[in-house]
Amino acid sequence: MTVHGIRTAASQTTKVKNGVGAFILQCKKMEFHYCDWAGSSRGMNGFIKGILPKFAAANPQIEFSISPRPNKHPVVTGHYINGRTKPVCVRNLSPYEILEKVELLRDASGEKLTKTNKAVTSTKDSVRGIWSPFHGKGEPV
């Protein structure tokens, strides 16, 4: 899917747009589990009946799976192309609160949530650090 997406983006654009045209959503699949009996699934059942059809139509690149999970709280699980999953319990939430959670899962990268202290994140950090004009003696022009 990834290669196909890049090819499609490349064929549609004559110019390279710094990767903008080749954006691929990181969320590839979403699973919705509900219970027919439990009251904590009332909002989830309403979401599946009323809101999810529109959401699924607006996001055709995501695979959706709806299945009952009896006697358990409702859960939405996002699957990402990095192999990770994110499950979110949506018990006793209203359909629109569940929609917020679903949008959060859709927009997530799939990476673990980490605290960001630096302005730049790199897989290979520079030993010298980032140059700053406000530090040091300064160079006379």
């Binding site: 799976s65 709806i66 009952p68």
Partner: protein, 372 residues
């Protein structure tokens, strides 16, 4: 030679006790080797019903049991299946060849090993229908399962019949006695007779209904009515052309319950108590009886509405996705299955799971080791 030397002294005593004119075992009792109906030789109480043969008689003597003996055997065969689950016998006793020939002229003994039948074990005893008496079969008051009818023409015809019967009982002064009893279904003649009656706007029958009451207060007929189909109901409605005034007849609580019970008996649909309170006339009951209940499962609603039919990226499952289905979807199940088989492990759990019913476990544990 006895192991204990002192036991030699008992040898003369044993010789004295041994019958001199004893007959070999095979000569006194022929061994039947042909598979034979089990109920014939099942002795539940341990008594031996087959006639005893004097030892002095030779095997070649033609044996013909009397009619009384054959009748006694047949009665025992019929009575061997008592009420409830038939229990396997502790001792399986096959009749002798001549007894079997007397009972069943077509009986032929086996001549080879392949002709021998094998007695089944008790593992599947619970599942076999012949081990259960007729009293174990459920006979419901109303239709059940998929046979429940809720089509409007059918319910209207049933309700009309029930109302005529209620009014007939009231007209005959037997309503108090028969209001809470189980009314017989009776045959199709009674069905037609009730539909021919006319009802006034005030809720009374125009004709004499003594014949309907007579049929209703006698027992069940030999061929009770099975009800009508939707097309038959439409034909009846088109033929009768009832005016809508009978739907406005007010109902009291006792009549409501009687109508509901009668409609339930024929259609299988029981109007819920919570809704019955809101019904005040026949028309309300008709509307409630035709109203289809909401689906119990969300998957059924999604299937009915078809909200996801046009979306190829959505799959709605009706049941929980099992471990095997998850593995199959990514193509890993065949690898797991092969590895389990290679190690001699059960693929889908233990095959000899514990039986569900307590009585079933008792049968298997009690009769498994009985020599048969």
């Amino acid at each position: 030679m006895p192991r204990i030397p002192a036991a030699r002294a008992l040898a003369p005593l044993r010789r004295a006790l041994t019958c001199s004119n004893s007959i070999p075992f095979l000569a006194t009792r022929a061994i039947s080797t042909t598979p034979f109906p089990r109920a014939l030789y099942k002795t539940r109480d341990g008594t031996k019903v087959a006639p005893t043969i004097p030892e002095s008689q030779a095997v070649e003597t033609e044996y013909s049991p009397s009619e009384e003996e054959i009748d006694a055997l047949r009665v025992q065969e019929e009575e061997s299946h008592g009420p409830g689950l038939a229990v396997p016998s502790q001792l399986v006793e096959t009749p002798a060849e001549r007894e079997a020939k007397a009972l069943h002229p077509e009986y032929e003994p086996a001549r080879s090993l392949q002709e021998l039948g094998a007695l089944p074990g008790v593992e599947n005893w619970w599942e076999k229908e012949e081990h259960w008496g007729p009293e174990s079969q459920f006979k419901g008051f109303a239709r059940t399962g998929t046979q429940v009818q809720q089509e409007e023409p059918v319910i209207e015809v049933y309700l009309r019949r029930a109302l005529v019967e209620v009014l007939a009982l009231k007209q005959a002064g037997k309503w108090d006695e028969w209001a809470t009893k189980a009314w017989p279904r009776r045959g199709d003649d009674q069905f037609r007779a009730t539909l021919e009656m006319d009802i006034t706007e005030s809720g009374e029958l125009k004709q004499d209904a003594s014949h309907i009451v007579a049929e209703l207060t006698t027992g069940e007929s030999d061929s009770p009515s099975e009800g009508i189909t939707e097309s038959e109901g439409q034909e009846i409605l088109a033929e009768r052309q009832w005016d809508s005034s009978w739907a406005q007849i007010p109902l009291d609580a006792a009549t409501k319950f009687a109508l509901r019970k009668r409609v339930y008996q024929f259609s299988g649909y029981l109007i819920p108590d919570s809704r019955l309170g809101a019904a005040h006339n026949v028309g309300h009951l008709l509307a409630l009886g035709c109203k289809k209940p909401k689906p119990a499962h969300l998957a059924s609603i999604l299937e009915q509405e078809g909200a996801y039919d046009a979306l190829s990226n959505v799959k709605a499952h009706a049941q929980k996705i099992s471990f095997v289905e998850k593995e199959k979807s990514i193509g890993r199940w065949k690898v797991i299955e092969e590895e389990l088989k290679a190690r001699g492990l059960p693929v889908l759990g233990a095959s000899d799971a514990a039986p569900k019913h307590k009585e079933q476990r008792w049968i298997i544990s009690t009769f498994r080791n009985v020599k048969r």
